[in-house]
Symmetry: C2
Subunit: 129 residues, 2 copies
DNA sequence: GAAGCAACTTACGTAAAAGTCAATTTTTGA
DNA sequence: TCAAAAATTGACTTTTACGTAAGTTGCTTC
């Protein structure tokens, strides 16, 4: 069975972030955990959202961008102009991400070179290490 | 034939960054263009380096990290301990980048969904647009 | 030889995304 | 029930990566 609620520290441990970070995300309107009194109660949906937020963070999205994406899921725009704009933004993001993936692949290749250079160097110096 | 020198504005135009940025990178020790008087003269090697710096920037490396990588190319460590440490860092970076690539792929898939949702919505509203 | 232009330096400013600290509550387990 | 542990708020600070502004220098061109 899925857990009904998570405490804030439970989630900070799971995701490796601080409480400040999660509260910050709430202040920024990215998540809205329930409250019992003043204490925050995170539901599985909140947890899932945090997971996505952090993924966005890792690939360099700003808070504003993440908020925008979340917004779309919460209530997709109803007007044609808005929809077209959104699609344009999606297209741009996609290009950006593809470029980023290319950058990553290139860098990974470079790191392979560095590693090989290291191994060669080590073979040169301390032959058996 | 390859150009001997590039001016700072030439490069800012090519790479879409400001002069401030390139001077900042010099302050940070990432590049060392020649000088004629006070004026910077960028060689093809500087240009290539800037290219790599910006690639690093795009995938979220900090200045310090970029400097570290450049440093390795300039003078690979000669001591075994240093080499081992470097290889460990390389390994960590690689894991990080692989994770990032996974994040990107997942997000690309999500963007596809968003786009489809948009198209459906548009078909719903303004049937022929 | 004054103007214009590109480049320079120095110094202060800023925005994003938290970190840190202090002073309360609240919750909880013995 | 009561002390320890966990959570809260609010204010202030920090870091990164530049932006911006002000004033200077050095061509070169009319």
């Amino acid at each position: 069975m899925v857990k009904k609620y998570y405490s804030i520290t439970e989630l900070t441990r799971e995701f490796g972030v601080s409480t400040r970070t999660l509260r910050f995300y709430e202040d920024e309107g990215l998540i809205q955990p329930e409250r019992r009194g003043r204490t925050r109660l995170f539901r599985p949906a909140d947890r899932a959202l945090i997971h996505e937020i952090l993924r966005g963070r890792r690939i360099g999205f700003t808070i504003a961008e993440i908020r925008e994406i979340i917004q779309v899921y919460k209530e997709p725009p109803g007007e044609v102009g808005q929809l077209k704009l959104l699609m344009k933004r999606v297209d741009e993001k996609r290009d950006e991400l593809r470029q980023k993936r290319k950058d990553i692949d290139e860098t990974l290749a470079e790191l392979d070179n560095v590693e090989e250079a290291c191994l060669n160097r080590m073979a040169e110096i301390g032959v058996g290490t």
